[in-house]
Symmetry: C2
Subunit: 184 residues, 2 copies
């Protein structure tokens, strides 16, 4: 699967805490490999995501980056493509159909983003041209990039859910994966 | 396309305003037909979504419903299926593969939901069994239900975006659809 770094651009501590957290949780659950927070430094977002990975498993390193331009330029030099999710961009499906993307930084803006990101990005892509949600856009972009395979990703954590038609079944303990015969 | 009502269950005015708004905006952009807000009454969410439909087009009636149990029971009597999105449920793809769903209430919980919804639902479905976001889960559920067709949905509004590889192009005016030769 492609390597994907989710870069949250222009995070505002008071306003965006929950949405930014949802963006990163979605990224982690749907197969992205790392997260980078830009804008206002916000330890509670970083620690929250780290805590989820610790409990639920999977590797999803996340960190704060003060200078997003430098970070993106370095990634480009290292051969990464930059996809900027924006409602003004071209249909993401067209880009994903035409381009083979092995290493991709997905830029997810909060509020109004600086004009510069449109120029730095290799692809300015939209998930519909309607106003909706960067969380939904991140989910659908990753889903199409990974061709749906991300939905079968296995996580080995301290805790896991055994899918049920009604009610809840949570299994605790490091060996949870061996303790249960999965019905799924 | 199937008729889909998105029911936000247990909305909390202070905590959930942005996430609930993102759930409904995502629902509207991705082809759902109506929205129902349950939990705390919140005019600003309702008015915000109505305003988006007014400006960007499309029909997406939204309203507050005090008694969600009554609402769901009535929908069931009218032949609607109830799909409850929960990380504890069975893989949504399995349900959508096996069942033909014409009219569906998608229940999207905020915080901890009452046990009763698990029993009222025809399907308790998960979009992965990892913690992530009800916005992402709503997006992926609708995308699979509609088979991706929702991404091509046309909206006739007072304003529209012409997709661009770099920068922004917004067209205003009622006749915007006729004024522009789409490059897309």
């Amino acid at each position: 699967m492609a390597k994907v770094c989710i870069l949250r651009l222009g995070h505002r501590r008071l306003r965006d805490q929950r949405i930014t957290t949802h963006v990163f949780l979605t990224a982690r659950a749907l197969g992205a490999t790392e997260g980078v927070l830009c804008g206002e430094r916000d330890e509670s977002v970083l620690r929250g995501i780290e805590k989820v990975s610790e409990v639920w498993g999977g590797k999803f390193p996340i960190r704060y980056e003060e200078n997003w331009q430098l970070f993106i330029r370095k990634k480009k030099r290292d051969g990464w493509k930059i996809a900027h999710l924006t409602m003004y961009g071209i249909d993401f499906r067209r880009v994903l159909l035409k381009k083979k993307v092995d290493k991709c930084v997905v830029v997810v803006g909060a509020g109004k983003v600086p004009q510069e990101i449109y120029e730095l990005a290799d692809y300015n892509v939209s998930v519909t041209n309607q106003p909706h949600s960067e969380v939904a856009a991140t989910a659908l972009f990753l889903d199409r990039l990974f061709g749906g395979k991300e939905l079968g990703k296995k996580f080995e954590g301290k805790i896991r859910i055994v899918p049920k038609a009604c009610g809840k079944l949570v299994v605790h303990g490091k060996n949870s994966l061996r303790d249960i015969n999965e019905s799924d």
